[in-house]
């Protein structure tokens, strides 16, 4: 049954003639399949936990206490020091967790007008996030000076420090602790730590920086690269693919050639050329790698989107919708994109894994300036005997990429109707 605006799957009917339950959208089918695959769920959980750890990094390790009571006055220094970006990330994560609730709230209203509840909920959350971000960035300056809290810990009546009470960036007083193995292996470095101490669970690096803290903050870079870079690729690919598939003709011819061109240049070379070419004053180096990864990785998504559009162009419901005068844009958003989303999602997860890999190579070549796992690996590999340096970063990279690959495979299997569980 269709009124030109809904694509609800027809209510299925059991052999006895009664309705077989609420109609299921394609998305819910895929999600249901995914839930039944333990490997996919494990990797999803890992990624979520990683994101959480990255966001909460200042609470896990750092020199700023969470709560500080001195001379009868209580304060919460850490909240003064969190940057606006960190707050926005926290809010985004929270909103992501609340998404199912919002969907449920929005569903009745959405289904009445035939809109997708998921997209509506997303739109609401995005708006909230934008407002929060605007307020924060417009009105707040985080505190950046050093508070000497660690040195003055005795002066406070109460001091709740993060789990690892150690400066995030080492100074001279931290130098003596350089290149220590994980402190619970105290028998390896008896002069610094007694065995079983948890002062530095993953050891320290070349200048006395705590490795665990570095891994946590490196996770931010890895996730950034993963989400933002691939997000950019997705956006470009979906847009161009939709245009290509919808208009066809010479537009498609030209865009297809462009994609071929980008595909035929080795991606690494293109990235390197662009990195060395973008000067610092245009884009801060932190974002250069992300941007360049994003701009060079859209071709896969493009082709998928384009193929999907070509496929459904011939479908009857599309012809009908168009005959009824539905606008092209609406069609794209309501029909083409949601249907093509699943294989694109698979491509995206593999793309994230690929982006993290590329960052490691770029760090090896010396083109990365922000601290990241790739840089840690590159540093650590030159001193293999300090195994905790490269084992931790190597494992972090390995586990993350493995998780994304596993997730990608899981989604791919979930989509495949022949592999229905």
């Amino acid at each position: 049954m269709t009124d030109g605006r809904t694509t609800r799957v027809a209510t299925s009917v059991t052999p006895g003639g009664e309705p077989a339950g609420p109609p299921r959208t394609y998305g819910s089918i895929v999600w249901g399949q995914l839930k039944k695959r333990p490997s996919a769920m494990v990797s999803l959980a890992f990624i979520v936990l990683l994101a959480l750890a990255a966001i909460l990094a200042p609470f896990i390790g750092g020199e700023v206490p969470i709560r500080w009571v001195e001379g009868g006055e209580a304060s919460w220094p850490i909240f003064r020091c969190l940057t606006n970006g960190e707050y926005v990330a926290m809010v985004a994560f929270l909103l992501g967790a609340l998404l199912p609730i919002t969907i449920r709230l929005v569903r009745p209203g959405a289904e009445q007008v035939g809109a997708s509840p998921m997209l509506r909920a997303l739109a609401i959350h995005a708006a909230v996030l934008a407002v929060v971000a605007g307020l924060l960035f417009g009105m707040r300056e985080p505190e950046r000076s050093y508070g000497f809290y660690l040195e003055r810990a005795d002066e406070a009546e109460t001091a709740w420090f993060p789990l690892i009470a150690y400066p995030r960036n080492p100074g001279f007083s931290e130098l003596p602790f350089k290149e220590q193995p994980p402190s619970w292996l105290g028998w390896l470095a008896p002069e610094s730590y007694p065995p079983g101490s948890w002062a530095h669970p993953l050891g320290t690096g070349r200048i006395g920086d705590d490795v665990l803290i570095r891994i946590l903050y490196g996770a931010r870079t890895a996730l950034n690269i993963g989400f933002v870079a691939v997000g950019i690729s997705l956006a470009i690919g979906v847009l161009l693919g939709a245009i290509s598939g919808n208009f066809g003709g010479w537009v498609d011819l030209v865009l297809m050639r462009v994609a071929e061109i980008v595909m035929s240049i080795p991606r690494l070379i293109l990235i390197i050329i662009m990195i060395t070419v973008i000067p610092e004053r245009w884009i801060p180096p932190i974002w250069t790698v992300v941007l360049v990864l994003g701009v060079t990785g859209w071709t896969g998504t493009y082709r998928l989107m384009r193929a999907e559009l070509f496929r459904i162009r011939g479908e009857d419901y599309m012809t009908a919708a168009r005959a009824l005068g539905v606008r092209t844009g609406r069609l794209l958003i309501r029909h083409a994109i949601p249907n093509g989303l699943a294989p694109i999602l698979v491509g995206a997860t593999f793309g994230i894994a690929g982006a993290v890999f590329l960052e490691v190579t770029l760090a090896f070549l010396g083109l990365v300036q922000t601290p990241s796992w790739g840089m840690m690996l590159n540093d650590g590999r030159q001193h293999l005997e300090y195994w905790w340096l490269w084992v931790t970063s190597g494992s972090a990279i390995f586990l993350t990429v493995f998780a994304y690959n596993l997730l990608g495979e899981g989604i791919r299997d979930a989509i495949d109707p022949r592999l229905r569980i």
């Binding site: 190579t361 090896f364 690959n405």
Partner: protein, 354 residues
């Protein structure tokens, strides 16, 4: 079929133009002065007169001079003129290239060896080709049986186990794998000390006989090839498994079984042959990727290969070498795409391109 191939070959030309033009434009229009930077970097403290002369000569040679076409200010070149200059420079590059002049490498400016990008690449080609060919063959030889077994015993221990292992291999960065191999297995490191730590040939390779040279090269190539193989292997094995599984579930296999054909014949003679096709086409497309992406291996094992040359040129904005490399890699990539499509058409009579 023939007309299709011809049409594709002809279509390659505008794509190649696009590839090379895009690369040229990015490198050329970028802010900064790569020629001056290069000379400064190589020379440090340069006599200004010599610097100017050298810089001029290189710019002339590579067509990097910016001409002022119509601007009001004769000394400044504005953005529009720069774009026109870039097109002009590109055209000049194409013209020279058609005559066999590929420009000269800025990085090799002061050394005695050849500066011609063609020579530079050819010098290293044999290294890259040896390594990558061996890698490709090995990948194929290992991936097929592994994929085959995983598909046959699908769902059982071997399949699950190999999936995890393969996925794990796929997730291991080359930087880490290479370093571990080098330190654990190469001479002068910790551990086994069985393999050489650098280069593709031992000292005195020129004086060896053929057989000895062959063995020596293989011995040197072992670790780098291992490093190149493990990633592609994982990908291809999984692909093979998926492909074979799909075939094993197909109707024609069911028919064959129903006909009473021995299982062995069904699998090896029918299903395998059909499932090999996507694997072969993937491998055909993998070769350019391997050639272009082997810079990590080349650096860790100190092997002078094409990947290192290309990446080095990209980082230094050495225009002539970049352009030549783009041309070569672009052509290889497009040719391999074409070859893959031809293979598909040849194998599957249902596919018609005309």
């Amino acid at each position: 079929m023939r007309t299709y191939i011809l049409k594709r070959l002809l279509l390659m030309v505008p794509t190649l133009v696009g590839i090379t033009l895009l690369t040229y434009a990015i490198v050329r229009l970028a802010p900064g002065d790569p020629v001056g930077a290069m000379i400064r970097m190589q020379a440090g403290n340069v006599n200004p007169r010599v610097f100017e002369r050298e810089a001029d000569r290189i710019r002339q040679r590579l067509g990097l001079k910016d001409y002022n076409f119509w601007g009001a200010d004769p000394d400044r070149i504005d953005a529009a003129e720069k774009i026109v200059n870039a097109f002009y420079g590109y055209g000049r590059w194409v013209w020279h290239m058609a005559q066999g002049d590929f420009g000269e490498s800025m990085q090799q400016r002061t050394t005695e060896g050849s500066k011609d990008p063609l020579d530079l690449y050819v010098e290293r080609a044999h290294v890259s080709v040896i390594l990558n060919l061996i890698a490709e063959v090995l990948i194929f030889l290992i991936a097929v049986p592994v994929g085959l077994m995983a598909a046959r015993y699908s769902g059982r221990l071997f399949d699950r186990g190999s999936t995890i292992v393969l996925l794990g291999l796929w997730s291991l960065p080359q930087v880490l794998a290479g370093t571990l191999l080098l330190s654990l297995l190469a001479r002068g490191g910790i551990g086994l000390e069985g393999f050489p730590y650098a280069g593709l040939h031992g000292a005195g390779a020129e004086t060896m006989g053929w057989g000895e040279w062959f063995v020596d090269t293989l011995w040197h190539a072992t670790l780098p090839v291992l490093c190149l193989v493990y990633g592609g292997l994982a990908y291809l094995a999984k692909l093979g498994r998926a492909s074979l599984l799909e075939n094993l579930r197909a109707d024609y296999v069911r028919t064959a079984r129903a006909k009473g054909l021995p299982e062995r014949r069904v699998v090896y003679h029918h299903a395998l042959r059909n499932s090999l096709l996507p694997m072969i086409t993937t491998m055909v497309m993998m070769l350019p990727m391997l050639l272009g992406g082997s810079v990590v291996v080349e650096r860790i094992f100190t092997i002078p290969g094409m990947g290192n040359l290309f990446v080095g040129a990209a980082m230094q904005r050495d225009l002539a070498v970049i352009m030549f490399g783009t041309l070569v890699y672009g052509t290889l990539a497009l040719l391999s795409l074409l070859l893959a499509d031809i293979l598909y058409a040849w194998a599957d009579p249902r596919i018609r391109y005309d």
